[in-house]
Each structure stands twice: as structure tokens, then as C-alpha cells.
């Protein structure tokens, strides 16, 4: 990731406190003419001064890399996995990662050994659907004494997508090809037919983890269920009659989820966009992105 300009340095709030304490000590030492008090005053002054280059150096060689950000639904949290790499030959201590922007989230790494990396996850609240810029990520450190702060800014061109919040009371529209003998998919349509297992992906529902497989030592697996294939369905923006656009998008998002869970081919019709019916993860995300980007 690109580092923006030079790192900047500024005093912390406790620097003011330090100045006050040193000033008071100087006053006491000079009015008492006490050499021992001067020794203490100068020792603290010296150590505080020497701590400044230590702080300055503490971020030298430290860079960050941002991994791919998983989309999230509005109202949930976005996780930004950040890798902090220490390319220097010394252990770096007390590094804070901050995301800029409206929601300041701070994570702290206590130490990173030489030429190792540490990983933190910044959690940002996903308030609004749409595509958001990550903006600038900052590394700060006040190590070792906390009197000055060094700040290193990293510009990132990456963005993350927030899907509309799935909501609404309407049933998934029935397709014309639907057989009358089928009961409507109950309960958020995961089908009842076991369709196999796949490796667990973080973020997946814990309810479908194959705990027996875990017990057998096969790692985390998710059970897949498939509903019987039914006729494809078109989810149409213009067919919904809510006044609020967001409400319509929420309903559509809910339907997309329901249809995907039911393994039922679905298409999306938005003003100006049409996505042909299909099923599967890429299709699901394509539809969701279209919904979240809808103007």
C-alpha cells in the first residue's frame, strides 16, 4: 500500500503534562538551589528527549497491506483484515492501526518481531448500502514513553461493498412454472435435501457446520442442502409498490437470499439493469452488488 508523504510527529496530551511537571521541577530546583533536584530534572528531561528518536524510529520499515474485504449487509459490520509487516531488523512495539473516516476504529498490536507480520481486523459499522472507499489507514505509535506520537498514513484505493439490508414481509414471487403440488419453501428455503459438504468459510452460518465431521477431525465443514429445483423467478424492482426505494431494495435483497438458499434460479430486473436467471455464489454476489450500487 502506498505510504503518503513522510510520517508526521506531534506531541501527545501527556507531553503537556510532562512540560508542566518539568517546569514545576525546575522552579523547585532553582528556588531551592538543590543540585539533587536538578539531577532528577535533567534525568527526566534527558530520557524524555531521547525517547523522541525512539518513537520516530519505531515505525521505520513498518508497512501495511490490506486483504480483500468481504461484503457485508447494511447494519452489520465490515471487517478489514490488515496485515502489518515489520521489514526492519528490530522488534517494533506498541503499534496502533486506525481507519480514517467517519468511524474511527483502532486496533493495537503490542509487538511485531523483526521481519515478521501481524494481522489485525478493523471492524467498521456498515451503515449504508453502496460502495465505500476505505480511504486512509494510519499507523501510530507512542512507544516507548508516550510523550510524542508518530503517524504514518497509507492511502488505499480499495473499496468495500455494503449490501442492502435484507428485509420485507413479502413472499418470494411464485414462478409460473411452479407445480401446484409443491409446498412453498418454508423457513428461508434451505432445502431439506442434503447435497453434500464443503469447507467452512468464515462468516457462514454456524447452524450448518457438520459437527460430526469436526469430531472426526476433518476440520470445519458446512452441510449443503438443496431444495428441489423449481422454475426460475424474476425479482422485479418495478413490480414492488413501496414508495421507498430502500425498502424495495431490502425486499429484493431478502428475496435474492431466499432464492439462493432454495437453489432456485433467479433473475433481477432493476431500472436500466437486467441480470439473467441463474443460481450460485457468483450470481448471488452479482445481484447483490447491483442492488447495492443502485442509484
Amino acid at each position: 500500500m502506498k505510504q503518503r508523504k513522510f510520517p508526521s510527529v506531534y506531541p501527545t496530551a501527556s507531553f503537556g503534562g510532562l512540560l508542566f511537571v518539568l517546569g514545576a521541577m525546575w522552579y523547585a530546583a532553582s528556588s531551592q538551589n538543590s543540585a539533587a533536584a536538578y539531577v532528577l530534572l535533567f534525568a527526566l528531561t534527558g530520557v524524555s528527549l531521547v525517547s523522541i528518536p525512539h518513537t520516530l524510529i519505531n515505525l521505520a520499515g513498518v508497512t501495511i497491506a490490506l486483504e480483500a474485504v468481504k461484503p457485508a449487509f447494511a447494519g452489520q459490520e465490515v471487517s478489514l483484515p490488515v496485515e502489518i509487516m515489520n521489514g526492519s531488523r528490530a522488534t517494533r512495539h506498541g503499534i496502533n492501526v486506525t481507519s480514517s473516516g467517519s468511524s474511527r476504529e483502532r486496533k493495537r498490536v503490542d509487538w511485531i518481531p523483526a521481519s515478521k507480520a501481524a494481522r489485525v481486523t478493523l471492524r467498521l459499522p456498515a451503515r449504508q448500502r453502496g460502495e465505500h472507499e476505505i480511504g486512509t489507514l494510519c499507523l501510530t505509535s507512542v512507544y516507548p514513553l508516550g510523550f510524542v506520537r508518530i503517524l504514518k498514513k497509507f492511502a488505499t484505493s480499495q473499496s468495500y461493498v455494503v449490501y442492502p439490508k435484507p428485509a420485507g414481509d413479502l413472499q418470494l414471487p411464485l414462478s409460473r412454472a411452479r407445480s401446484p403440488h409443491r409446498r412453498p419453501p418454508a423457513d428461508f428455503g434451505e432445502g431439506d435435501d442434503f447435497a453434500g459438504v464443503r469447507a467452512y468459510v468464515p462468516g457462514g452460518s454456524q447452524r450448518h457446520i457438520d459437527w460430526k465431521a469436526v469430531a472426526r477431525g476433518r476440520g470445519l465443514m458446512t452441510k449443503q442442502f438443496a431444495a428441489e429445483a423449481e422454475g426460475s423467478v424474476y425479482l422485479d424492482f418495478s413490480a414492488l409498490h413501496f414508495a421507498d426505494v430502500e425498502e424495495r431494495l431490502s425486499q429484493l435483497a431478502l428475496w435474492v437470499i431466499e432464492a439462493e438458499r432454495a437453489r432456485r434460479p433467479y433473475g433481477l430486473r432493476l431500472p436500466g439493469t437486467e441480470i439473467m436467471p441463474a443460481v450460485g455464489e457468483p450470481h448471488f454476489h452479482q445481484c447483490m452488488r447491483a442492488l447495492s450500487r443502485f442509484q
Binding site: A13, S14, N33, V39, L40, H54, G94, D110, P144, G146
Partner: protein, 649 residues
Amino acid sequence: MFGTLATWIPSFFLLTLAMKFWMEPKGYRLRSAIWKLVLAAVTLAAIFFSYGSLKGIEPGVSVLVVLMSLKILEAHTAREFQVMVMIAWVLCLCGFFLSQDLVIALCLLAAVVLLLVALVQFHGPAAAGSPGSFWSPVGVTCKLLAQAAPLVVLLFLLFPRINTGFRFEIRDLSSAASGFSDRLSPGSIASLTNSSDIAFRAEFPDRKTRPPGPMYWRGVVMWHCEGMEWRAPYARGSSEPGPAQRGALPVQAPGDKAIRQRITIAPHGAHWMFALDRPFEVPPKAILARGNYLWSVQPIRKVRRYEVVSSPEVTGKDLQPRERKEALEVPASISPAVRELAQSWIAQNSNPRAIVNSALQFFRTQRFRYSLSPGEYKKNDLDQFLFHRRVGFCEHYATSFATLMRLAGIPARVVVGYLGGEYNDLGRFFLVRQADTHAWCEVWFPDSGWTRLDPTSAVAPGRASLDLNSFLARRVASGEIEARRSAFVTQLTQSAIFTNIRLAWEAVNYEWDTRVLGFDADVQESLLASVGISSSGPFLLITETLGIAAALLVIYAGWMQLRTRPRVDRVKALYERFCRKAARFGVRRNPWEGPSDFSRRAAKLLPDESERIQKISNTYIALRYSPKSPALVLNKFAKEVNAFAAHRR
């Protein structure tokens, strides 16, 4: 243990600390503002009732300690932690106002270092549980201290000592003064024999070894006789001797026995200054009072260092009639028996020296005893002492002898000072303790002026050449007096190792007192002048100091940057060079392109170099991915990269 603080204050602090340890794991914290105020008010009131005031150093320190304790109960955030550390630093400073002793200084240094360790640990904790988790912050702190050391020395030597004028009184030192007072009464010196407090230390800059002969350190001269009690001529409590008492004796030329001394005096809150018998060159800010003793113009409230030259040959050559009258005054209350004794000596031989000898003979032969606990005497108990009990310490002998001399018509006075002291071979200085306080007499002989006479040596021969403790030890060994301590302690304190450790510690202590505590504005000025920095005003000095400090910091930063910068990967650097060269001929490597794909494409585009490109890329892959690549291959790789496209220019 906690000095002069009321005992409940440190106990309160320890209690809150223990509470914190109990509260923290449970997540309890002092949150309610009302409770905080109530606690603060209650403790402040308790401090007020303990000391009767909130002013002064002890109540001030107590307030700080109490506030710190409450802060401990309340603290939770990072900022509060930082604030606590800084309050603790101020407390360390207060420690120096209570005592500047080297032991205290070392304890406070340890406290400051531990606070720094805590700060470092707080801002960047090391791996918990790993063996380095404690020592890593300690190491960082030591590094900080080591790097700060030159700065501290620089600031200490160069930073101008501006006197802010206003001086708040820390505490009344005159009450804690030495055993000295301007009044010598029976028992006043004997009560000091257990005191190991340091009175002063003296070194002799002109000589390598201790001067020979007994060391009589002159303190104050007493003229006013009240039998067994003597007084200095000025009133108690007056800050200075009156003008009549100032430097009455003409200063004589020193003989070749002159001894230069550099004396470091411990603060005693009064005006006394000490020098070998008798001083004639007066240090600055002091005067030579009547009777040839030093008198500081200002009370001595901090460690002071001065140089003085003494010579035993300095004596007053003439005695003013007024002084003569004063040196012969005796109170009317002296009993006829004592007067008779003095008269009997005159009747024997009226020569003053003969009278003195008869008096000394009297002390020697009449079974007088030298004792640390001679019992109580009142100031009129002269005949009790001379004819009945005959037990006394130096002040009894000095006062009674001088009184007898006056009765016999010989001008006499009492001198109080110190006798002996311990010579420290390591530091080459004399350490004189309060226990070495001594009183002796001076009598006037028309031919030789004021002459020192120590009647104690008539009773306790050998005392004059030793300090009191060695003298007592010798007497204990010969069974003359009872030991004051158990045999084991005596043996331990006299063992060679113990003695050497003690001497070394005293030498270090001396260095601390003279080089650090004695470093004031005057010493700084002379130091700066000696290295050629004339006093160019405090602000220029501050600027220069800060300039040097800034340069030092830049050097540190650069050095640390160099030491920790990433290691250069030579293979990577060479391959990147190869790619740059290729790019110059229009074959740019795409970010997604692996080395073998790129080499195939490059070989196609640059057919005349295809063989070399192939070789470079194969070597690169081998260097990167084969488990072991000898240095030879790396060198070959470098050669190939250098040769690539070399002739195409």
C-alpha cells in the same frame, strides 16, 4: 522508615494499592464522583489534623501521596496511567527535599527507573509469559538511560542555574543542627558520642597523605565563663556576632607549616565553619571572628565547600586590655575551695607555665577518670567535679581547667570543635563525625600568645591522636572501659572487609556530596570559565545546550535507523536490475508475470540475448526456490546480469 511523614499516609497508600490488586480483576473501580470528593475531603482533613496545617513540605508530600492513592483507585485509562507516573516523579522530587543523602538518591533513582520501565511496558508490552517479557522493557529503559546519560551530564554542567529569587522554606534546619551550640554545658558533648552523623569532610589538596600530629578542628571560641558552663560571647539566637566580635586579631603571616584544606561541610542550619587550628585565610562569604574562628555570613543550609588555609603558628601576639579583662572574668559563685586550689598553685610558682603544669599535674595525679557517662553536673558543680566525683568527659576537663586558669590569673578561653576524624585512604579525605566533637582550652602566655592546651589528654593520653571511636575501641580492647556494643558487632565492624566497604562507601558518598550536591552557580561559572565559555548570558547558554542536545538526538535517530533498516535482498535487487535493463529495450515485465513467462517473452523479443535471458531466469529461479544456493552461483548470477545488454549501448 518513611521519614517524617505521619505513619498513616504510607499505610493508606499501601492499602489502596492492595485494594487495587483486589478490585482490578473484578472490574471494580472508584467511579462515583461523590465518593471521590468525600474520600479526598476526609483524607485532606486527616492530613490537616495530623500536622496542624497544610503548609510545608510534609503536609505537601502527604497531600500528593493521598491524591496518588485515590488516583490508583480510580485510574483506568491510558491517560490516567501516564498522569500517575508523572505524579510519582514529582513525589521523587519531594523525596530529595526531605533528604539528599546518597542512599536516598539511589532509592529515588531506582524508583524513577522502575517508573520508566512501567511506562515502556505499558506502551509496548513484550510477549507475555515469554522469558523476555520482564527484561525487554528493562533493557529498553536501560538503553534510554544510557543514551540520555551524556545529555544529563551536559544539562547538569551547562544549563544555567538561574535563581528564581523566591525561596520557599522547606524546613527548619537549625533545630536539626549539629551537637554544637553556642553554649557548652557539662554533658553536652558526651551526649553526642553515639552520633554517627557527618559533621564535615576535609581534604588536603597540597599533600598526598594526612598531615602529621593531632587534628584539632576549630569551631567556636567561648569567652564567657559560668563555672562549668561556658558561652560564646554573643547572645543565643542572634544571627551574627556583633561588630565588636569581628576579626579583631590581626592576620599574621603563615609559617611554612601552613596547611590548605578543602572542607565540605554538612548543612547544620547555623553559622559555624570549621578549619584546622588556626585558620588565617578566610574563604568567601565568611569572616574570621574574634578568637580566630570562622563564621559564615549566611546560615549553612546546604552542603557547602570552601578552601581555607590554617597554620598552627598563627597566634595572637598581643592581648588588648579589654580582652584580657574579659579572659579573666569568673563568676562570683565559685566556691572558696576552688579558689584556694588555684591560689595554692600561684603560691608554688607564679610563672604561668609552672601554674599550667601544676594544674595538669593535678588532673593527672588525682585519679580523675575519663568517661562517656560522667553523670549529671550543674554549672556550679565545679567542686563536686574537682574534689569528689572526678569523672568527666572532655567538656568537663576543658571548662574546669579554663576556669581554674582564670582563677590563677592566666587569661583562658574554651574552644569547641572536633578532634581527629577518620582518614579515608581511598578518597584521601578526613571524615569528621559529630561523635568527634571535642572541647579544649587556650591560655595566654605573654611570650607565645594564645596556646592550645588539652586537659583531656592529661586524663586520657592517646585520645588526641585518634578519633573517638578508635580511641574507645582501643580502650575496650585493653579492658579499661566496658564495650558499648556486643562483642560480635564490634568484631564485625572492625573486620577488614567491613572496614574497606565502609570506607569505599564513604568515599563514594563524598564524591556525591562534593561533585553533585556542591555543584552550584559559582562552581558552574568557574568551570565554564576554565573551559573558555565565558558567561555569555543564560539564554545563549540554553540555546547552545539545546543545540547540542538536538544534534545528539539526530545522531541517535540516524544510528537507530541505520541499525534497523531492512536487509537488502541481493538476489531480488539483481533481478530487478535485470528487469529494468530489459524495460529499457521495451520489454517491460508485467506485474502478474512470473520469471519464466517473462523470460520466454523477452527471449522472443530480444533474440540475440535469448541465451543469456534464459540463463539469468533459470539461475534466478534456482536461487529463489532451491533449498540451498551457494554464494558462487550468486556471483555468477551477478556477472550475467551485468553482462546482459552490456554491448547494446
